[in-house]
Symmetry: C2
Subunit: 168 residues, 2 copies
């Protein structure tokens, strides 16, 4: 696998997520409700609402890339209250991803990933990526998608997958 | 990345999904409702219900591994109507994944993936895996999880992630 392949994939999915928020805003206008009421919507009372799903998707991408490259990520205080602010959060995360070079990524498979919540223990880069980062990232992205679908926003599988390289 | 790493990850997530169905069955018994009523539950009227989410998660794992290895997958006619049958479907998929060897997987990154729905075109193995297979697989796994959470089943993030290799 091309070593740097995973950084653009986080970015692509965050761009897709951004477009769902655009479609949600348009849907709200068509239906005549305030788009930002969607921000506190959730699928279960003990699951994160849309704002926390978007923040968590951004953080999973940001911190994963940081752990796997050693490049310090920007701080984000989780203060977003509107769809516009959530879109700005996504843009901040994308800007960070764009600073990552192939040289930053080199050796990620064997890097020791030791986030604070592992309390001094660590996980090998390739294990962290495949077994923690990606499942968690897609969890928050998909749950954000499902919250919007549950509220009637017209989205389909290709909005979720996005563009996809095919050849003749 | 260890080339064969992705096959066990599909398997681990399917085993996690199986355990959510066990927990859903126990939850239904505690609440005094028929567990199989959950099978037709969905988050939006135009989204797949639980049965199709489980079938699609199984199919995404099965066909992805088939495309990336060239090993013929078992046929599954999508006739499951109960949680017990969905668990059997998962078991069938896991049994197929267990037949895959490191030799089968070798060269997956550059394999031409040409499912019928690409209508004669193809995608390079590593692109198909990262940009189609994994997002789609986690989509169906996460949506199955969210359908159960939406119906009150007690599940948490570690039920979703499952076991995870860390070291001292």
């Amino acid at each position: 696998m091309d070593a740097i392949d995973f950084v653009p994939q986080y970015g692509k999915m965050l761009k897709n997520l951004d477009q769902w928020l655009v479609k949600a805003t348009e849907f709200a206008k068509t239906k005549g409700f305030e788009p930002d009421t969607l921000v506190q919507s959730r699928l279960a009372p003990d699951q994160y609402s849309l704002d926390r799903q978007v923040q968590s998707a951004c953080d999973t991408a940001k911190f994963s890339v940081s752990y796997l490259t050693g490049k310090t990520p920007p701080a984000n205080p989780d203060t977003e209250k509107t769809i516009a602010e959530l879109r700005a959060r996504i843009a901040t995360t994308l800007a960070y991803l764009e600073t990552i070079t192939a040289a930053d990524v080199a050796g990620w498979e064997t890097r020791k990933v030791a986030p604070r919540w592992l309390q001094g223990k660590w996980s090998k880069g390739e294990h962290f990526f495949m077994q923690m980062s990606l499942p968690n990232f897609y969890f928050h992205v998909t749950t954000a998608y499902s919250i919007l679908r549950h509220n009637g926003v017209t989205l389909g599988k290709m909005d979720y997958i996005g563009s996809f390289p095919i050849q003749d």
